[in-house]
Symmetry: C2
Subunit: 348 residues, 2 copies
């Protein structure tokens, strides 16, 4: 168990990290949370290099407080044509229904792992924090970041992953409970039954590591923040509660799904990206099965679904949209991210 | 949210309920926990009427503190021969391997729902508490119990189930998080993706009901107890942590599985009883698939598996044993249940 002062790690006033949410946020959310005293994050995994740089510039212009850059670090899989032909056959009825032709091609999946080009581009900004999802980048990249003095954190979904991250010298471990919305950070196993609730995960990790723990998953209000700290976490990472904030770029359809009672039912699904991620259950998930063995390898499964989504959303339908959301929507509020951050930390 | 004093409901000194654990305990555990100041439970779902009565007598002789009787209240399904023939075909390689013949028959599943015969037998004891699993018994039975002045609680695994239980006038709601070991109490849905972590479940239920909440699932130590109370629960129900206690009847093989690192991996499975329940992953679960669509209807799936288990256990193998266990084994201690209860409540 970590016995230091978490504020030494985070450099913030509040023990609140805003979860990076690719496709749902830009620097506006990062700035609002950092300015409020939390640690704002920028999800860079779906941004172009140019966009990453321009967003960081916006953050630096708006605040001198610490912020976090988040990257995926999966090993980029090859595009497998056979896999896609089968998947396209499975999805054909939907393409027919929407009256569109599938556009196939290996270059359209837009989730790139962290690499030296990105490192070259962000190095000059000397970022205080980088968080990774799906493990860590290779040793050379990792050592390179460490030379900047940047603090490195990553997600663990099991005790084994936490022990592995600690052995790699991370500065903090995000204990991502099963409740969390979006992609599971899992990287040592692909069996989703290994994924456990945050209140079982945090104490078991805390018993085994000395690295500070940032609890994530199912935390929606100040009671949740307090409970996570009691369990052995030094800080929390919160995403879902920010989804309705005015500073988030959550789409109208996504907001509407969250406000609807159906957000009580989320599930882990691979149909949107190829990796298990938690979304509000919608038509694509129900009809294809939450975890479909035909879904192409991450991130390529997004190629076809993004086409269906684009057309369906124009028709005001969320049938094919990834409605990322955690298991606890009771903290979602249509207020500013600043107000929400202060509310979440109100008993800290 | 409940604003009263939970001790008025429980009648105990400590906000700790011991989870009833059918097949793993008898009155010794109930007595130890109740005497320590918690609410000891007796799992009656797998006991004969005679055994229920003799166990209650043992409790009443040993303590005048409150105790809880737990019953299943599923609707008893018919034994479907066709279903069993298919399942037996699936299991045939195991029967062959153990060199035994399957004994088929409708009367060997030993999980009976609560009924008037049981009510007749326990009425004279005027039990303070009855907890149900799988919803509630029918209105007539429920009203009958209420006339005894007995307090009634049952498990909710979703907000919807909590609202339904409140509408039936229960005295307390056990919010059973996904982390919990043993059978899911789910009764309004059979889709296991609806099951959520305790830290997402408790605050969402607390926001909607006025009935006191007893949090269950993943709670293994005094930090977990405190965190659950912070989240909005008035008490906790703990099972897994008691599994290694000297007063529990946990088998040697089961104890050994819990102490082994493999207890880090549990999963929901229907192969032992026909209903989803959390067990340490063993050979039967791995090879049959955790949730096998061929598994006969609860409780009849236990008929064949119990035969395999009996023979395998004689050979010192837990391949076919239900190794009920929650997602957090860090609180399992080889001490007395009295000591454990006091440890769990040490910051209350």
């Amino acid at each position: 168990m970590y016995n230091g002062n978490i504020m030494d790690l985070l450099g913030t006033e509040l023990p609140i990290v805003q979860s990076p949410m690719a496709g749902i946020q830009d620097s506006a959310l990062t700035i609002a949370v950092s300015e409020a005293g939390g640690l704002g994050s920028l999800a860079c995994g779906m941004l172009s290099l140019e966009k990453i740089i321009s967003e960081i510039r916006l953050i630096k212009e708006a605040t001198d407080k610490p912020y976090n850059l988040n990257f995926f670090c999966h090993e980029m899989a090859d595009y497998k044509e056979k896999q896609h032909l089968k998947w396209q056959e499975k999805l054909k009825p939907y393409f027919d229904e929407l009256g569109i032709e599938v556009e196939s091609g290996p270059n359209s999946a837009n989730r790139m792992p962290f690499n030296h080009d990105i490192a070259d581009a962000i190095e000059t900004f000397n970022p205080e924090f980088i968080s990774f999802h799906f493990g860590l980048p290779d040793k050379i990249l990792l050592e390179r970041i460490k030379t900047w003095g940047t603090k490195i954190v990553s997600s663990a979904t099991t005790v084994q992953e936490a022990l592995w991250l600690e052995s790699q010298g991370v500065d903090g471990i995000i204990a991502q409970g099963l409740e969390a919305g979006g992609h599971r950070g899992m990287f040592l196993s692909d069996d989703i039954s290994t994924q456990i609730g945050v209140s079982a995960l945090v104490p078991q990790i805390a018993n085994k590591v000395k690295t500070p723990i940032i609890a994530a998953g199912g935390i929606g209000d100040s009671r949740g923040v307090q409970a996570a700290l009691v369990l052995g976490a030094s800080a929390v990472q919160i995403g879902t509660a920010y989804l309705l904030c005015s500073d988030a770029k959550t789409s109208r359809l996504h907001r509407s799904a969250i406000k609807n009672f159906k957000s009580q039912h989320t599930a882990l699904t691979n149909v949107f990206s190829g990796r298990p991620a938690r979304s509000i259950v919608n038509r694509a998930m129900k009809e294809l099965g939450y975890m479909n063995p035909l879904a192409p390898t991450f991130p390529h499964a997004s190629i076809e679904m993004t086409q269906l989504r684009g057309h369906a959303e124009k028709l005001n339908s969320d049938d094919f949209s990834p409605l990322w959301c955690g298991q606890n929507t009771s903290g979602c509020k249509e207020i500013s991210a600043r107000e929400l951050t202060l509310l979440l930390a109100s008993k800290c």
